[in-house]
């Protein structure tokens, strides 16, 4: 597993041994952006290889905006979608249907807000009868296209993982705040919203650091946090790796192979109450030596990521061949699959989905539910970045999940 990660490696790493029993009540969604899309033949190749007795698996597709047949866009990239789905779906086992929310006109602010309009309509969509009519969602049939355009006709999945992101410097504070508030609304509805933390260390997405003016540039020196990872209403997922010649039974370190897991401190959002103790402990015990001019050293801003999972050497079927893929793109769907199984167990005993998890995972009640990562860093902007340290750190967050312990805590 230090050379090639497969579903079996992840099960061993995080002690994931669970067979879903509440699949008709449960749901897991993964966001993709056209033209990025999955390829069915690659899904089947992955299934045949890694899921015993399964030759074919396919997600539900909920298309947003335009009803375009997006499943097989020839010539467009599909690394991301193939990766997200092959691992997200395999880990929750073939019994749990996974839904893709496919934003069809690309990944613009317009598309995002159109998508959430589908969830929170005050007119037709707010009609409880319409919501009730859709109570059987999300299993409308194999690959059936569902239109999210008509507001309120689709319930968001219990867990939604997104492996895309921007940097704070790309969008205005007002836009970031509004988008973040929309995630807060999803949390109110019991939806767990996960985002990859990014792959460029402290530089944020795109390897662009900031100038003193706040503009991203390749020659800047100021850390550029990833958005929406800095939104306090989402759960940001960093990446780890198994060190060379180590096994799944030894501690992982922060991912420094091909990519550097992003993390740091927001320039937009204040520190939420739930992480104050953990982050301030880090700042007190392991104060970063960088000047305050290149990072938000106030100790009052939202810090990320919240947790992490392996993000190195994923074996992914792409264009009929297996390839190795790296990134927090991989770790977020894995965390999503784990939380989906926890939801399954809760639903089986009559409990509700876990919803917004940050206040829970940072609480003392969840102490010991994560494997603390204490090695590695997240270089960028001409610096060594931050260090992984005992306890929460701005590289791997609280650490990687210990599935049995998380399950136990959430069932108590």
């Amino acid at each position: 597993c230090d050379k090639k990660i497969t579903p079996a490696c992840l099960r061993a790493l995080y002690d994931i041994h669970y067979e879903p029993v509440s699949t008709s009540k449960n749901s897991y969604g993964i966001m993709e952006y056209t033209p990025e899309t999955y390829v069915q033949s690659d899904m089947d190749l992955f299934a045949k290889t890694y899921i015993s007795g399964v030759d074919h698996f396919t997600p539900n597709v909920v298309s947003i905006e335009r009803n375009v047949n997006q499943t097989q866009h020839k010539g467009f990239p599909h690394v991301e979608a193939n990766l997200d789905l092959q691992y997200g779906m395999t880990l929750v086992t073939s019994k749990q249907k996974v839904t893709i929310y496919q934003l069809e006109t690309g990944a613009s602010i317009n598309d995002f807000f159109d998508a959430v309009d589908g969830f929170f309509c005050t007119s037709k969509g707010a009609d409880p009868d319409i919501l009730a009519r859709d109570a059987t969602y999300p299993d409308p049939g194999p690959s059936e296209y569902r239109k999210l355009r008509n507001c309120g006709t689709v319930k968001p999945a219990n867990v939604i993982s997104t492996s895309y992101g921007l940097s704070e410097a790309h969008i205005s504070l007002r836009t970031a705040a509004r988008q973040c508030a929309e995630y807060g609304k999803l949390g109110l509805m019991g939806v767990t919203v996960l985002y990859s933390s990014g792959d460029n260390g402290v530089a944020g997405v795109g390897k662009a650091c900031l100038l003193a003016t706040g503009s991203p540039t390749s020659s800047g020196k100021v850390f550029n946090p990833t958005f929406p990872s800095t939104c306090p209403y989402i759960t940001s997922v960093g990446a780890t790796q198994i060190d060379h010649d180590s096994s799944v039974f030894e501690p992982e370190s922060a991912c420094e192979r091909v990519i550097y897991s992003s993390g740091g401190f927001s320039n937009y959002f204040a520190m939420p109450e739930y992480q104050k103790d953990a982050v301030q402990r880090y700042l007190k015990n392991y104060p970063p030596s960088y000047p305050a001019s290149i990072w938000n050293s106030t100790g009052k801003s939202r810090a990320f990521p919240d947790l992490s999972a392996n993000g190195a050497n994923y074996v992914v079927a792409i264009d009929g061949k297996f390839n190795l893929v790296y990134g927090t793109s991989a770790s977020s769907p894995v965390i999503g699959a784990i939380l989906t199984m926890i939801n399954d167990a809760r639903l089986a005993v009559g409990k509700k989905p876990i919803g917004f998890i940050n206040p829970a995972i940072y609480s003392s009640a969840f102490s010991g539910a994560f494997n603390d990562i204490t090695k590695g860093s997240n270089p960028g902007c001409g610096t060594l970045g931050f260090n992984s340290t005992p306890g929460w750190d701005p590289v791997t967050g609280l650490g990687t999940p210990n599935f049995p312990k998380l399950l136990k805590h959430w069932l108590e």
């Binding site: 991301e80 602010i109 005050t122 319930k155 990859s196 893929v325 609480s363």
Partner: protein, 199 residues
Amino acid sequence: PYVLHEKRSSAPYGWSRARKLSSTAIIPLRFAIAQSNIDKMDEYLYDVSVPMSPNYGNHWTAAEVAAKFAPSHDSIDTIHSWLMHSGIQPERIKLTQSKGWIKVDATVEEAESLLQADFRVYTHETGKEHVACESYRLPAHIAPHVDFVIPTVNFDANLAKPSDTTSDPTLYELPDDGNGPKIVGTVDPIVGLAGELKD
């Protein structure tokens, strides 16, 4: 009087300010109407998400969420009225079903007049184009009712996907779009208006 609503000091890395837009080109303006009770989001969310809370797990319905945060009628009416008095015909002013947005397909001339902005086409080094402005202003009595307007100062046209592939012999090369290996090709907010842009 107009007041500055949002401003960007310079374009993000890789983007450069290019040409002026034709005054007759169409910009799909979207006004994000200020929402009610949004300042209480922490309180509401913690109430259902903190394990020790008596309401832990008592999640809201979509209808409850929509009702709690819906913009006020006053905000909607004020923006609507301003647009009409600015010469936008009522049938061109669309309120989304969520009531969170007002949409107007405005000409560049109208948009620049409404927002006191200078819209330009920005070009990425890869050749992608994006329409934006460096700043925009709103009438002082409108500003409190609007969170922001798009497309204006945001550069969301390149969402990045944080994944990468290996230098292993089984390497799968991501197409080099010149913007780093993690940038997804995207569609500009004015997609479909290429004809007008060319003019």
